[in-house]
Amino acid sequence: MTVESTAARTPRRSAGTTGAKSTAGKRSTAKKSPSGEPELVQLLTPEGKRVKSAEYDRFVAAITPDELRGLYRDMVLTRRFDAEATSLQRQGELGLWASLLGQEAAQIGSGRALRDDDYVFPTYREHGVAWCRGVDPSNLLGMFRGVNNGGWDPNSNNFHLYTIVIGSQTLHATGYAMGVAKDGADSAVIAYFGDGASSQGDVAESFTFSAVYNAPVVFFCQNNQWAISEPTEKQTRVPLYQRAQGYGFPGVRVDGNDVLACLAVTKWALERARGGEGPTLVEAYTYRMGAHTTSDDPTRYRHDDERAAWEAKDPILRLRRFLEASNHADEGFFAELEAESEALGRRVREAVRAMPDPDHFALFEHAYADGHALVDEERAQFAAYQASFAEAEGDN
C-alpha cells in the first residue's frame, strides 16, 4: 500500500452526510450528545463539503489554508510511513506492525489539537499522534522490530511509550493529569484507547478517578469498529460516547474520518480540561481499514464490502477534495508532498535496516534504576559464561 494507490482510490458510494453507520440496530432513539449536537459531530462530509456546527466551528474558525494543508500533509505522511512499516514487516525487517490505515484523521485531528505541554498516552497504534508530537517515526519501529520495548524518551515529546496491555494507560493518563492539577499547570492530558479497550475495568476506573478528582484528561476512544475479530457489539450495546455520562462527564461522538471535526472536538475537550471542567470522552467513529496487525487475517471474520463502504469515507480523500474545491492547494503542493512521502519512506526504510541489534548485556540493563544484587550476580555469571566461549574458541 503506497500513497499513490491510496490517492487513486475512488469512493464507491457516498454514505450520506452523517458518514458513519451507527452500531447496528442498537442506536438509542435520536440521541443527542450533552452539547446539543447531533450524535455524530462532522465538519467535513465524505465529499469534502464543509458543514456548519454551532458548537464546534469556533475551534476551527481561525484555521488557515496553510494549517489545512498541514493537516493534509500530516495524514499523507503518516499513511506513507504506515505503509512503509507494513512492507518492512513483509520483508522481515519488522516482527509485527499495527497499521493505522483509515484512522489518520482521528489521530492527526486530535494530535494537532494538543499543545506542546500537553501529555499523550497512546496505545500501540498512535503513529499519527506520535508524528504530531515530533517523535521520529523510525523510533516507533524499534519495538516492532524487536530491538526494544519502547525506544523514545516520553518526556522529550510528552508522548508516553506505547502500551500493549489494553486499557492500562488510561489510568496512567489520569494519574498524570491529577499531577498536572496538583502542579497548578494548565496543561491537559489525552489518553487514547480503542473500542475493545472500553470493556476493561481499568478504563472504567480511570473514568471514576478522573471524575472524582476532576482531572484534566481527555479520553480519546478510536472506535474503529473492531477489536481484532470482534465487532463493537461484543463490547457494548449503546454508542460508546454515552459511557461518560454515567460517570458524570460529557461524551461526544465525532466523525473519526473527518480531521477538522476531530481537531475541533478535541480542542473543545482540551479547553474543558484546562478550564477546570474535568474529563471528557471523545469517541472518534472510524474504521480499521487494514488487518488488526500484520499477524491478523481479517478475511476470517469480516466482509470486504464493509471495508469498501468505508473507503468512501476515506479521511485523506475528503480533505483533499475540500482543499481542491476551496483552492487551498494546487498541483504543486500535491506533487511536492508525494516526493516528500517517498523521501520519508526511504528514510524510514534505511533507518530500520541500519537499526543495530541490542548488545547482549542489555538484558541486564534497566530492570532497576538503583540496581539489584541478583541482576549484578546474573550479569557476572552471564559474562563468565560468554567468556567461556571466547576461551573455548581461543583453545581451538
Partner: protein, 336 residues
C-alpha cells in the same frame, strides 16, 4: 467417544500439531458434554489468534463458543458464575502477559471458592494460556508466569510438551472438578506428534520419563522438554547419559518421580523459561534436596530466565535457556 466426534476420525491414531491436538480435545469435550463452554477474546470466527479454537464456533454455535468482551477479569469472573450454574467453562487468555487483569478473580475467587464453601461448590474451570517465548513477539507475548499460579493453593497448573499430552491433559483438565491453569507452549503449537484419541491416559499430574539415563536428570515441562531432548542427544555424543523427566504438572509437582530419578542419577538440572528467581526450579531444588540429601552428588542446578523483564525479540535467544546454557549447567553439575 470417537463415534460422537464431529470430526471424521477413521483411526484413533493421527499425527497432528500440538495446537490441533488441543483443538481436537476441545471439540471432543464440546461434543461429549453439553456443559462445556469455550470463552475468550476472538475464539469464535477467528478461532483464536493461534487458531486453537478454529472451527468450533461454526460447529457448536455462539452459545457454546463465546466471543467475550475485551476484559480478562470479566472472562474469568463470569466463567466462575457459569461454573456455579453447572457449566464447565474453558476460557482462553490470549497471551501469557494478559492474564494479570484476571489474576484477582483467579487467586481470590476461582482458587478459593471450593474451600470457602467447605467443599459444597466445585470450580471446573480451565484457564488456557499460550505461554513462553521463542516466537519473536512484542512485549507481554512471551512470558512464563506459571510460578505465580503454582504458589496459590486451590489451583492446579499443568503444561503439556507434545500433541498427545496436549490432547489428553486437556481432556483431563476439563474433567477435573478443580480449576486448572493450562499453560500451552506456544512455540510448540506447530510441532507434530502422534495422538491416539482412544488411549487410556496416565494420571494428569504424573511426570513421565521421556528418556532414561544414568548420569544426571534433566527435569522440564512444556516447551523445554524438546530442548532437553536435544541436550541429551549432544551429551550422549560426549558419552553422558542423561535422564529426562517431562514434569507435565507444576502444581502438584510429582516429587516422587523426580526423587526416583535423582536417587538413580545423583544429579538434577531443572530447566524452564520462567525466571529462575522464585521459579519452579527453586521449589524442586528445595524439596528434592531435602528428600535426596544423601543421594545428591551436586547441588540441584537451575537454568531459566534472568531476573529481568522478558526482553525484546532480538534478545530472547540470550534470555531463554538454549542448548549451550543447559549443557553448561550439565557440565557444572557433573563437575562436582
Amino acid at each position: 467417544m470417537a463415534e460422537t466426534m464431529t470430526s471424521t476420525t477413521s483411526t484413533p491414531v493421527k499425527s497432528m500439531a500440538l495446537a490441533k491436538a488441543i483443538n481436537e480435545s476441545l471439540r471432543t469435550a464440546l461434543d461429549t458434554d453439553p456443559k462445556v463452554l469455550i470463552m475468550g477474546e476472538d475464539v469464535g470466527k477467528l478461532g483464536g489468534v493461534f487458531r486453537v479454537t478454529d472451527g468450533l464456533q461454526k460447529d457448536f454455535g455462539e452459545s457454546r463458543v463465546i466471543d467475550t468482551p475485551l476484559a480478562e477479569s470479566g472472562i474469568v469472573g463470569t466463567a466462575i458464575g457459569l461454573a456455579l450454574r453447572g457449566y464447565r467453562p474453558v476460557v482462553e487468555i490470549q497471551f501469557d502477559g494478559f492474564v494479570f487483569p484476571a489474576y484477582d478473580q483467579i487467586v481470590t475467587q476461582l482458587a478459593k471458592m471450593h474451600a470457602r464453601s467447605l467443599g459444597k461448590v466445585k470450580m471446573p474451570v480451565v484457564v488456557r494460556i499460550p505461554y513462553g517465548g521463542g516466537i519473536g513477539a512484542v512485549e507481554h507475548h512471551s512470558e512464563s508466569p506459571e510460578a505465580l499460579f503454582a504458589h496459590v493453593a486451590g489451583l492446579k497448573v499443568v503444561s503439556p510438551s507434545n500433541p498427545s499430552d496436549a490432547y489428553w491433559m486437556m481432556q483431563q483438565a476439563i474433567q477435573s472438578d478443580d480449576p486448572v491453569i493450562f499453560f500451552e507452549p506456544k512455540r510448540r503449537y506447530w510441532d507434530k506428534g502422534e495422538v491416539n484419541t482412544e488411549a487410556i491416559p496416565g494420571p494428569l499430574h504424573k511426570a513421565q520419563v521421556v528418556r532414561e539415563g544414568t548420569d544426571l536428570t534433566l527435569a522440564a515441562y512444556g516447551p523445554m522438554v524438546k530442548l532437553c531432548k536435544e541436550v541429551a542427544d549432544v551429551a550422549a555424543e560426549e558419552g553422558r547419559s542423561l535422564e529426562i523427566l517431562d514434569l507435565r504438572s507444576v502444581s502438584p509437582l510429582d516429587f516422587d518421580s523426580i526423587q526416583t530419578s535423582v536417587e538413580k542419577t545423583g544429579r538434577l538440572v531443572v530447566v524452564h523459561e520462567a525466571p529462575v528467581f522464585f521459579g519452579s526450579g527453586a521449589e524442586i531444588a528445595a524439596r528434592i534436596t531435602e528428600r535426596c540429601f544423601y543421594h545428591l552428588e551436586a547441588p540441584v542446578l537451575r537454568v531459566g530466565g534472568y531476573h529481568a523483564p522478558y526482553p525484546p525479540a532480538r534478545l530472547e535467544e540470550e534470555y531463554l535457556p538454549g542448548l549451550d546454557r543447559v549443557l553448561d549447567a550439565v557440565d557444572r553439575a557433573l563437575a562436582y
